[in-house]
Amino acid sequence: MKSKCLWRISLLMVNILFLHAAFGQSALVLKGKVTGKNNTPLAGVTVLVKEKTNEATQTDADGMFTLRVSGSSGTLVFSSVGYTNKEMPFNAAAVSFSVQLDESVSVLNDIVLTGYIKQKKSDITGAISSIRNKDFKDQPVLNIAQSIQGKIAGILVTSPSGTPGAGLLVSVRGANNPLYVVDGVPMTSESNSSLSTSYNTDGEVQGSGQNVSSISDINPDDIESIEVLKDASSASIYGARAANGVVLVTTKRGKNGKTDFSFNSFTGIQNVARKIPFLNSDGFVALEEDARAQDLKLYQQDPSQFPAGFDPALLTNPLPPSWHTGVNTNWLDEIFHTAPIHNLQLSARGGNDKTKFFIAGNYFDQTGIVIENFYKRGTFRMNLDNKVSNRVSIGASTSFTYSRNRRSFNDDTYTGVVTNAIGASPLEPVYSKSGNYSNYASYQASWLSDNPVKSAKDIIAFTTSYRFIGTVFVDVDVMKNLKFRSSFSTDYTNLTDDQFFDPITTDGQSVGGKAIKGLFRNTTWLNENTLTYQNTFAGKNHLTALGGFTVQSSRTNTSQIHAQGFPEGSGLQNIGSASTITSAADLNTGWGIVSLIGRANYDYDGKYLFSASARYDGSSRFDPSGRWGLFPAASAGWVLTKEKFLSSSKWLTSLKLRVSYGLSGDNEIGDFQYLSYWVPARYDGLAGLRPRNIGNSDLTWQRNKMFNIGTDYEILNGKISGSIEYFRGNRTKLLAEAVLPATSGFSSITINSGNIQNTGVEFSVSAYPIKKQNFTWTTSFNISYLKDKILSLYSNNELLSTYADLFPSHILQVGQPVGTFWGIKFLGIDPQTGNPTFDDLNKDGVIDNNDQQVLGKATPDYFGGWTNDFKYKNWDASIATQFSVGNKVYNLIKGTYMTLGWSDQGWDANNVLYQVYANNATLVNRRWEKPGDQTDIPRASLVFQNYIENSSQFIEDGSFFRIRTVNVGYTYRPKTSKVFTSLRLYAQVQNLHVFTKYYGFDPEVSSNGGDSPQTAGVDYAAYPQARTFTFGVNFNF
């Protein structure tokens, strides 16, 4: 049925191709030269006859053009991005032109990709933000999402961890994980590595930990522009995958003119931006002595508070000699180091009328600020365009990426390198006298699971990835005003995980070392075919219509082998040398999506703008009865400044009102979820099957309906411009794990339920407060207020744990936003006793889990960024900042470094204390010490845990203001030399400073990795953010 439908369309297209329309005869040949500032020739300027889009050409490297026109008179339009359009009349007498274009600060004529078609910014009716290469280049970042952090209103990009290659939490108007479309190829930013970074001591996976982001395979240096389709009406052209917003990434392509070589490189160093200060060994011992003295005082007053059989000798016996060795290890200094970072990019860009190319090679090498780990990436890109004839052009975009990542073990979770270092005793040396690693178990902190330096060095994990993305396409002018485009793309990933636990590590010890080998292979292919009709009727009615169909299909194979027992002392790590294979898994999976797309844009004289689009998607992820879905959208705009009553305004150059409404979907529900399956299971050496799930044939797309009103304004010809948006979105039919009665045999079933409302206001402004010959100042500012509220849920009040074996840290509750914290409310410290007091919510006289309540949220009330660029003669400077207000952080790891001398039964039969829980941060120095002390840190105590871990004692304000980048550069342009065109040298600091009250490494944190908004905002000793100093060069020749 559906394929018949598609057949008809393809037949139609074939027919259309044979309808050749005749071209008219040329009557005049126009020639001329176009120049810009200082009379420099401008290449690539579009020259066309007004209202005749097929009579057009571009200027060559010397700014020269020749154009045959059919009419005997008319108007020539000269246009180029960054310049004000100029119109010149022509006739038989005026065939030679010398045109000078003025630089423009207006962005109204910028061409913006809006999904399958391009539009002028002034014609756009949806909420689309766009950012150019110049706004994010030269940053020492790996991931495109990181490069736009703080630059686009409505987009909240959170770096959950400083791990090189870590995934990012990207939220477009409150919806996480947008669809990325890189040069037309849709992809998600997923983690394809099977190495968990969150194991417990049994080697079981406890949380998602930090993932590695597959979108890191796209080199930011190759990117020309990024467009974010924020509202559902813009995004819904991507249908069943657009509910979380769409990020369109366009890479650089060749251009007409002489070949430009560009060499960009930076090199620098990184260190930990903020360290948590820990007690040294004297402070550590002093805290313990105070804890004992406080307990003794309490014991003398009221021994009944102590456990039965408690012997107060524990509080008076001298600490063993191991507490007075004089060793003083600063563990954070042992695992952190100053690490280098390098980037080299060489590209060439050029071409002629017929063929254009862009080729680039890049090498990025980042050493982690935690010892041993690194991320290296090499990328190659070649983008080609060829004009076969006047009506046919072909092209290709290809990129190849290789990356190798030495992972940090158990990044952001217990037993990890950073986590162990945070609790370690300062009295423990890194190495014992014999030169081996010291045995962590014989020192004063019981929190550790291994010597942190040993974990870093002798648990070796690599993730290596190869990725190829390639597209070939053909554009055909089928007839006047009608263009056909067909493209084939493939996206291939091959990723290998290798992890080796040396036999000397705690994890590998009892089994003689263990290893994991994981393989991931994915092939995705895509075919897209579109017909675009563009015409102008009666001079002022502009119509663009597009129809097409696309097919995308993906196959994935993942396999994983676990093995143990390696030849002693051999140094062998490959899985084949192990004595026992302990498990092997091999999974194949795949999906397919078939779509019909349609879109029409109409405007009357650029004044009244209308746009409608629809996508009809069929997805393999759903039951055949409900796998097809329609995603429509409509929007309209009104340019007020083209109306008489405003057209005379001197200062208001442009004012547009827009309104849009659309529906988009999300089919990221996992493959084969709608069916009941039995999975392989073994017993007694035999293979069998056991039930996996209860299928739900009603599973369908998650939906996002969004209403958007916006305005784009431009004042004084672009001196000030920007947008204001208001939106209200409803995300419905959310994927939920509905609680099933256990009697069903399963604990949950995947269903569509729930409704989350996102409301927000976004404001952005860019301005040129000063624009003089020698000095310009550009400033841009954006701020977004975003509120998300759960309207309905299948199971209200569901508690969520960040780690499988830890208490719940979050709740999903109607009326609250996603990512709401849950626990007991801390009221303060009793100045008389030094004990913390808590809110006894149910007034039963006992503080327990029945007193838990909502304690704040991980998402900010408002966030944004402010960027300033200055140019003085050849000098340039920029400073980019970012802020977030109202977000809270659940500092779970603080429960380890604010234990106030508590010992988990770490005393022996003779009541001699040998171990406490963990070393503490210096914040405990302001603890309560005597009656009357006003503080927020409780009394120290050896016997009692004088704090509650799942309470707001550990929830902190995570608001911050970050100076993200500061860059100062000097550009040298030789006046005559032909050797090179420009040389820019710069110095940059990334993450210069964070203003925050937060105590941990960084308030911008989410230990549970890059894709878990429900349990966001938890700090479990996340890998800290680096401060990076770089020196760089941009050399064009």
């Binding site: 598609l6 097919v551 302990t582 498990s583 999975v679 069998g688 009665p741 256990a742 009697t743 074996d805």
Partner: protein, 456 residues
């Protein structure tokens, strides 16, 4: 040239459309559709293997179910990194949200579901011969009864026949999402006994003690009758098992091989694991020689040490180590029943012959039962008790319970023994609940149809 290129693209574009249906009609290559399993004998056999696999879930006989029950008593305590839900077990104050209890509850009902799938569908399997039909059905009935009984003794008031706090009985898989209210304790017992009686009439083939068998069914019946208070029936069933010469009791010299070898003659029903399908016992109780308290989850209580110190001749004291442990574990210790750090394939000892002797000893009572009690004592290095050592029934019951504790510690019996004999408060402390709370998730998930246990 130009036209050729166009045509190539067009042709490709068209071909790609032909496979539209192929692109959308994907089935998982790794799994088998639920509706195809019971369409042939091979599928049924696979489901039977899968059913045993469900018993091996980490949260069931893969380790946690017996170990949690044990560490709630004076035999054990818990370790871990100050994990609240584990601490609750050691403190014997478990909240309804406890993740370990919730996961065990879910895992056991998953076994019930799988057994039900076989019981409900076995009659429709084409080409199945009667012998295999009957034996497989008997195995499924046994497994369902085992699971139901584990539910009853962990979450139901199994010591009180008149109680309404039994289990949610599920016998089919037709309406899985439908909430099922709890039956009474007596109804639960009758369900379990009914399944086992039916299974006993169907078994026709002994396939080794890693599979359910007639003797396993009788052994479980003996246990169920003992809990239920039908002493005569318990004796009858126990006697049948003891007289099955497939099983034999080991002596002082070789009994530890129960825990070293696999599927020894002392096991009536034992779940076997292998290095590719490991159990959680070793990692949760021993892990490695120098493991810290935080590394292991289930620790032997110092109280068990005291207990064995009062029985110096008891060779079973060697199966628990209070000496070679990290100082952080002291004064508690670690059980030695689950060693084998490399392979981690320790068996689950579901029913052992020693337990059957002890059931019969208890069921027969002071005068007649002493022989059975002494059989166990003497085969573990202890001297035989005389009638004078156990002057009254109470003393005799204590002697049996001590023997059970010595024999079956860390195999998941102690809590149920204390509960069925009404000794929980006396031994574990006043106010301690003898059973676990129904998981809050279940109460929420059924909209309150399933009622919480009293005291929670």
């Amino acid at each position: 040239m130009r036209k050729n290129i166009i045509f190539i693209f067009i042709i490709f574009a068209c071909f790609s459309q032909i496979s539209c249906k192929k692109i959308l009609d994907l089935v998982s290559p790794n799994e088998v559709g639920g509706n195809t399993v019971f369409t042939n004998v091979a599928g049924l056999r696979s489901a039977r293997i899968g059913m045993y696999n469900t018993l091996q879930d980490r949260n069931y006989y893969g380790g946690y179910f017996p170990l949690i029950a044990e560490c709630y008593t004076d035999d054990g305590t818990t370790g871990g990194y100050d994990v609240i839900d584990l601490n609750e077990i050691a403190y014997r104050a478990v909240s309804p949200a406890n993740i370990y209890i919730t996961q065990s509850y879910n895992a056991i009902y998953n076994t019930v579901y799988t057994a039900n799938k076989i019981i409900n569908n076995i009659d429709q399997v084409p080409g199945l011969v009667k012998v295999e039909h009957d034996n497989t059905l008997a195995e499924a009935l046994f497994v369902r009864a085992l699971a139901d009984f584990d539910l009853l003794r962990f979450w139901g008031q199994h010591w009180d026949r008149s109680s309404t706090y039994g289990i949610s009985i599920v016998n089919n898989t037709d309406a899985p999402a439908q909430p099922v209210a709890r039956s009474t304790v007596e109804q639960s017992y009758q369900q379990i006994i009914g399944d086992l009686m039916q299974a006993a009439t169907l078994f026709n083939n002994y396939q080794g003690n890693q599979y359910a068998s007639l003797s396993a069914a009788k052994a479980l019946l003996a246990r169920v009758y003992l809990y239920h208070g039908d002493m005569a029936q318990a004796v009858l069933m126990a006697t049948d098992v003891i007289s099955d010469h497939t099983f034999k009791l080991f002596g002082v010299a070789d009994f530890p091989k129960i825990y070293i070898d696999k599927l020894t003659a002392e096991s009536v029903f034992e779940l076997v694991f292998d290095p590719q399908n490991t159990s959680a016992y070793n990692a949760a109780t021993y892990l490695r020689g120098n493991a810290l308290r935080s590394d292991v989850l289930f620790i032997a209580n110092t109280n068990l040490h005291t207990f064995f110190e009062s029985r110096p001749a008891d060779k079973r004291s060697l199966l628990v180590d209070f000496i070679h442990n990290d100082v952080s574990i002291e004064p508690d210790g670690r059980t030695q029943k689950y060693r084998g750090e490399t392979t981690k394939d320790n068996s689950a000892y579901v029913i052992r012959l020693a337990e059957i002797y002890l059931i019969r000893a208890e069921a027969k009572g002071r005068t007649a039962g002493l022989t059975d009690l002494n059989t166990i004592r003497t085969s573990r290095g202890m001297t035989a008790l005389t009638a004078a050592d156990v002057p009254d029934d109470a003393a005799y019951l204590n002697a049996v319970l001590d023997e059970r504790r010595a024999e079956l510690n860390f195999e998941g019996h102690r809590l149920f023994d204390l509960a069925r004999t009404g000794k929980v408060e006396a031994v574990l402390g006043s106010g301690i609940q003898p059973i676990m709370p129904i998981p809050q998730r279940e109460i929420d998930g059924t909209g309150g149809v399933v009622k919480q246990n009293p005291g929670y």
